[in-house]
């Protein structure tokens, strides 16, 4: 009985799409070359992949950012055409895993029946997922219902959380970037699945797609704003009384990130009662048409530069604060980097990189266990600390050369200063190194590390040239200081 019902829904849904609209759902074939964080001076392996995409009213070809990541070529295949069309990425957002691509040849758009954006769906609504799963040549339909609205980490970003719709419609590799339709209109984009659970697929919700499309209207992608705070739920009765919370509304700020938009406006220990007039429950959630959802929903639907009001309880007094929304980028980068080379600095066979999630992942899938403890500590605590450094610079690789004999145990140490000057970022380090190299009074570059129980790294300036030449001959390592 159940299977008959699903079949009925599927047939009904397919017929509700204008049959010709199917030609707007395209297969995307990509050649890519990944970046190499382990050896950032050279590129990684070349590989191929495929996914799905669709053409929206207005001509935007939408797919997932992960379908076109690190792409060297992008090919579009229409259902109704034997021809392949090359394309390029115009806008991409890794944090919401969406990309806007453009066909290089305008004839691609000829006779295409573009899809329309739908409306906000509700839980239990029927949807169909269309795409080219498992790299197949034929278009595929799967049907299901919207099971719930979740708040999850977007795998493409690796760190950023956003809202996702969960569905029981099958979403398989290759479906990525394909449209999720309700009544023939786009209500989301298929993007990731839960491999250890049955019938659990996720699609990017309508509001996230809409945010992305509005964001790029001015020709720039700026991203989602972030408050940059950590907070504590107020489930504990004594804690509620202590902070003066009288009803079931309020969360307490426990940490504020270095350059968060609330820095200097809100304080740790402030109780957030309302964000833009929406009460925030003691569980950190707000009431919505999809049930109680994370309060970040309010911020995620705003844009950078927009003003919001936050009502807080500070020392048991109500205060209203106005915040201009922004994002924050200082500190350890926790999001994956795509389509751009990893920053690094090299001299005499020593390679320095800023600490990042990608760098830690060079220890493999279990990086959170296997990477050095001090780096794990910085990763966890640095962004919320009061340190004035912008980045943590790591001595990431030491390529064996005569000049570094006796210093090779210093790998993975974090740089504190060079010839007495504090290093605040990789760029800062580059400038300090340049000034030491130009200072004729100094014969050595002396790098000291945060770890006190180690020797300084000593580089005799008069031997750098020979070492750099050897590093290039042996390891193809270019000099990245001068």
């Amino acid at each position: 009985m159940k299977s008959k019902l699903i079949l009925f829904i599927l047939i009904f849904s397919i017929f509700s799409i204008h049959a010709n609209s199917l030609n707007s759902i395209v297969k995307i074939i990509v050649n890519r070359q990944d970046r190499n964080c382990y050896a950032p001076w050279q590129r990684g392996n070349i590989s191929g992949a495929s996914g799905s995409g669709f053409v929206l009213e207005g001509g935007a070809i939408i797919t997932n950012a992960h379908v076109v990541k690190n792409a060297t070529t992008i090919i579009l295949k229409r259902l109704d055409s034997p021809r392949q069309f090359s394309a390029h990425v115009k806008y991409v957002s890794n944090e919401c895993d969406l990309a806007y691509i453009v066909a290089d040849d305008k004839s691609f758009y000829k006779n295409i029946n573009m899809l329309k954006l739908g409306d906000m769906p509700d839980l239990g609504d029927n949807v169909i997922v269309i795409g080219y799963p498992a790299g197949g040549e034929k278009i595929s339909f799967t049907a299901g219902v919207i099971s719930r609205l979740d708040y999850e980490v977007y795998v493409q970003d690796g760190n950023a959380m956003n809202f996702v719709f969960q569905t029981d419609a099958a979403i398989n590799p290759g479906n990525s970037g394909g449209p999720v339709l309700m009544d023939g209109k786009v209500v989301g984009v298929a993007f990731q699945a839960q491999s250890n659970l049955q019938s659990v697929g996720y699609f990017i919700p309508f509001m996230v797609l809409q945010h992305f499309l509005k964001d790029i209207q001015d020709g720039n992608y700026e991203g989602f704003p972030k408050l940059g705070i950590a907070y504590e739920d107020m489930q504990n009765k004594a804690a509620r009384e202590f902070y003066g919370i009288t009803d079931e509304v309020g969360i307490v700020i426990t940490n504020i990130a270095k350059d968060s938009p609330v820095t200097g406006i809100l304080k740790e220990d402030d109780v957030i009662l309302k964000i833009d007039n929406t009460p925030v429950g003691i569980d950190g959630k707000i009431t919505s048409r999809w049930g109680r959802i994370n309060n970040d929903f309010i911020i995620k639907n705003k844009f950078i530069g927009e003003k919001i009001k936050i009502c807080v309880l500070r020392n048991k007094k109500h205060i209203n604060k106005s915040i201009i929304l922004s994002t924050y980028k200082k500190g350890v980068r926790k999001s994956h980097r795509y389509n751009e080379d990893y920053p690094y600095l090299s001299i005499a066979g020593y390679v320095f990189q800023p600490l990042s999630r990608d760098y830690l992942e060079t220890w493999g899938k279990k990086w959170y266990v296997l990477s050095p403890s001090s780096l794990k500590y910085y990763y966890k605590n640095f962004n919320l600390s009061n340190e004035n450094r912008k980045e943590i610079v790591v001595l990431s690789r030491i390529l064996p050369l005569e000049i570094n004999q006796g210093f090779r145990h210093l790998s993975y140490e974090t740089v504190n200063n060079i010839n007495g000057k504090k290093v605040l970022s990789l760029n800062d380090m580059k400038n300090i190194l340049k000034s030491v190299l130009n200072n004729k009074k100094e014969s050595y570059i002396v790098i000291t590390f945060d770890e006190m129980n180690t020797i300084p790294l000593v580089i005799p300036k008069d031997r750098i040239k020979v070492a750099d030449k050897k590093a290039f001959e042996s390891y193809l390592l270019p000099v990245e200081v001068r």
Partner: protein, 500 residues
């Protein structure tokens, strides 16, 4: 038939050479639980081998008796008899057991200590298998400074290549005399580690000759060699620092040891201790013509030597030829100036360090339970509950341990070791696990005694603050008493605190 004959010959040989200084040591043990510190965890048994070094006194590794409740010894031909601890040094992993049963002892003889030996020598390793004495051979490959499981001590071991699998305490024998006891193994490399005779000798001498056991010098010095030409040039400037044979001297001190911090600084180049020069690899020459005598006030010996270089890590030398309380003279180069300084050597005392490796003199952990939060002082033992603790234990605590284990301080880190869920701490579990306590009721916390004091302050709310977050665990003091009773009943707790 041939096989039976071989087995017969083997058994005959075994019995012919049956050595009468060996006993099997059986230990019943039951440690305290570190996460539920008011109770003990499972009862276990372990066994090893002891060697009789003096009438009625048996030498074993100390880790064999950790958390013991009962110790017995036996031979293949005897019943088990009880043994007591005569002396134990957990830091150096050595222990002496005492047996009073004269009938048992009448069947045993004392083993003598070996004299000198060198890398490449062959030894016999003896152990029991199915109550039969088995002897096998091993070759002395190298020495190694092994870190004690119980303390930051490094102690000299001999690395023996052999196919024999490890049994704690099994002896290394040369010409019928004791050369070491087994303390560790590396099965992948077919290597066993034996505590060297220098260490054993020092321990025995101290245990038998000194009125009060002095123990070993805690060698809290971390150094880097100065073999790098560039580093030498940079550090020494115009100095050359060589001995009369033109050998390069000196090591770079990266951690002087907080107990020596007034005399030795980070960045010093240490090149001589008393009259012994230290090579650029951190080695001192092993002394020639070794001798030992229980009447010597300070034995100057090295039984073992590297066949090639004849030298040994200077810290092992310090461990073995000096006693805590001795004063030694150091020759150092500081900012290109030669300085002579003196340091008084000391013993490791876990109570005096910021993060003790283990509180081995008090196996029962100290704790305070408040509002269902179990507060303890951080120690290496707590972290070692995790397999591969350096990778898997909570990173904030691990770094505190790593940096604090050799740092002298009268403070300790107090942290949340466990969480007993109750309505009084509802909502706190996600925020306080393994967090280090910074303040309680505005009192800075540096020990459980501070916690005790801070919790006695009468206020409407008790506020516990932690490191790296402004999260606060808040408890209404009016509710605490009821909650404590509830928690004690629910979790079957007999005491809400125990402070050593």
């Amino acid at each position: 038939m041939k096989k039976i004959l071989l087995v017969f010959i083997f058994l005959l040989t075994s019995s012919l050479y049956a050595d009468d200084f060996l006993v099997t040591v059986n230990v019943a043990y039951q440690p305290y639980s570190l996460t539920s510190p008011w109770r003990k965890s499972v009862i276990g048994n372990r066994s090893g081998i002891g060697v009789m070094v003096k009438k009625g006194i048996f030498l074993i590794p100390a880790d064999l008796i950790k958390d013991f409740t009962n110790i017995t010894v036996s031979t293949p031909n005897s019943n088990k008899v009880n043994a007591t601890v005569f002396n134990v040094d957990y830091g150096m992993n050595l222990c002496l057991l005492k047996v009073d049963d004269q009938k048992f002892l009448s069947t045993l003889n004392t083993i003598k200590l070996a004299d000198s030996y060198k890398i490449g020598d062959s030894f016999t390793i003896e152990f029991f298998k199915d109550e039969l004495l088995v002897k096998n051979n091993g070759t002395f490959q190298n020495f190694y400074l092994l870190k004690s499981w119980f303390s930051p001590y490094l102690y000299l071991t001999m690395v023996i290549k052999t196919l024999v699998k490890s049994t704690p305490g099994m002896p290394l024998i040369k010409n019928g005399m004791l050369a070491g006891i087994c303390v560790a193994s590396n099965d992948n490399k077919n290597q066993l580690y034996f505590t060297s005779l220098e260490v054993i000798y020092h321990f025995l001498k101290d245990s038998f000759s000194n009125k009060k056991y002095k123990g070993f010098v805690f060698n809290n010095i971390k150094y880097t060699d100065m073999k790098s030409k560039i580093f030498r040039e940079y550090m020494l400037g115009k100095n050359t620092l060589r001995d009369k044979n033109n050998v390069e001297l000196g090591v770079y001190i990266i951690r002087p040891g907080s107990n020596y911090k007034d005399s030795l600084k980070n960045g010093d180049i240490l090149y001589k201790i008393d009259d012994m020069t230290i090579g650029n690899g951190g080695r001192v020459k092993a002394l020639e013509n070794p001798f030992f005598s229980f009447s010597e006030s300070r034995q100057k010996y090295f039984f073992i030597s590297d066949k090639k270089s004849g030298d040994i890590d200077f810290r092992a030398m310090m461990n073995n030829i000096y006693f805590p309380g001795d004063t030694i003279s150091l020759s150092i180069l500081r900012k290109n100036k030669s300085i002579k300084t003196k340091i008084a050597l000391m013993k490791y005392d876990p109570e005096k360090f910021l993060v003790p490796e283990t509180f081995y003199d008090r196996s029962r952990p100290s704790y305070i339970i408040y509002g269902g939060l179990i507060l303890e002082e951080l120690s290496g033992s707590f972290l070692k509950q995790w397999k591969d603790y350096d990778e898997n234990s909570p990173v904030d605590l691990y770094l505190k341990y790593k940096n604090g284990v050799t740092k002298m301080s009268d403070k300790k880190y107090v942290f949340v070791a466990n969480y007993l869920a109750d309505e009084i701490n509802l909502g706190y579990d996600d925020y306080c696990y393994y967090k280090t306590v910074k303040y309680i009721n505005d009192i800075p916390i540096g020990s459980l005694k501070d916690v005790e004091k801070a919790l006695n302050i009468k206020r409407k709310y008790t506020v516990i603050e932690f490191e790296n977050t402004s999260f606060k665990a808040i408890f209404d003091q009016a509710d605490i008493q009821k909650a404590n009773t509830r928690i004690m009943n629910n979790y079957d707790i007999n005491n809400m605190k125990y402070i050593f």
